[in-house]
């Protein structure tokens, strides 16, 4: 049983690690759709919320 619990814990840990890495690698739309010619300082946050999660 110990191994099973260990495995489940490991799964959750790996999941959390993946969450952190992927969320870190996440790019917002204004970063992705701004080319080298543009410096976007105030992309605006209506409709997408202050954290650009679409949740506000």
């Amino acid at each position: 049983m110990k191994t099973i619990v260990l495995a489940v814990v490991a799964a959750l840990a790996l999941g959390a690690l993946a969450a952190a890495l992927l969320t870190g690698a996440q790019r917002t739309a204004y970063q992705a759709y701004a080319t080298s010619g543009a410096r976007v300082s105030e992309p605006g946050h209506n409709l997408v919320g202050p954290t650009w999660s679409g949740e506000n």
Binding site: Q26, Y33, H45, V48
Partner: protein, 198 residues
């Protein structure tokens, strides 16, 4: 009850992007989210046509069908809206949408792309009409003010028609009869399973 539709008269659209910036202006749409865009086909060659595209508010909307959380609803005048509280940002609506209307605040991984945002036909969303919460989530609600979408109202050559499907079809039909040519009610067959018989 009115059946709201969009019709872009490709023989008048000059890709001036007024519809795009009018939408940005009216709803303070942030950089990177392009509710409306103008696509030019056959660019640079005779027969070049530009078409302004956002969401066609389809009959039996594919996006509504595939949504795993059923966060879409169609209003009484057939505007396809959705709730950002329910949306889980899975991106399925984008795969189903024939016109590429849905937009996402984040483009990175599948995990947290943020809540989907799309053209609301200037009809807001499931919040109190003309409320601050509605504006912050879905933008302004012109239909509640008895107006029409600003993109169509401000279209420089009156190419983009918005309003009740019957009326704008009639307008388009009269134009084609008078001018003797027309490239067809663009996208209606896919969105509404009908077209304007001229």
């Amino acid at each position: 009850m009115a059946r709201m539709k969009f019709l872009c008269d490709a023989d008048r659209c000059i890709e001036c992007n007024a519809c795009v910036t009018a939408c940005k202006n009216e709803h303070e749409v942030p950089w990177g989210i392009n509710r409306r865009r103008v696509v030019t086909l056959n660019d640079g060659k005779p027969g070049e046509r530009s078409i302004s595209m956002a969401c066609m508010h389809c009959t039996d909307a594919p996006c509504a069908a595939v949504c795993p959380v059923n966060c879409f609803y169609t209003t009484a005048d057939a505007v396809v809206l959705h709730s950002k509280d329910l949306c889980i940002g899975c991106g399925y609506c984008f795969y189903a949408c024939p016109f590429g209307a849905p937009q996402y605040p984040r483009v990175g991984n599948f995990g947290s792309r943020g809540k989907m945002d799309k053209c609301t036909y200037c009809a807001g969303g499931p919040e109190a009409d003309l409320g601050t919460a509605e504006y912050e989530k879905y933008g302004s609600n012109r239909l509640a003010e008895g107006k029409l979408p600003l993109c169509a109202e401000m279209c420089s050559t009156k190419a983009l028609l918005a309003g009740d499907g019957e009326i704008i079809a009639q307008i388009y039909k009269e134009r084609v009869v008078r001018r003797g040519y027309g490239s067809g009610a663009w996208g209606w067959k896919t969105a509404y399973r009908e077209t304007v018989a001229i």
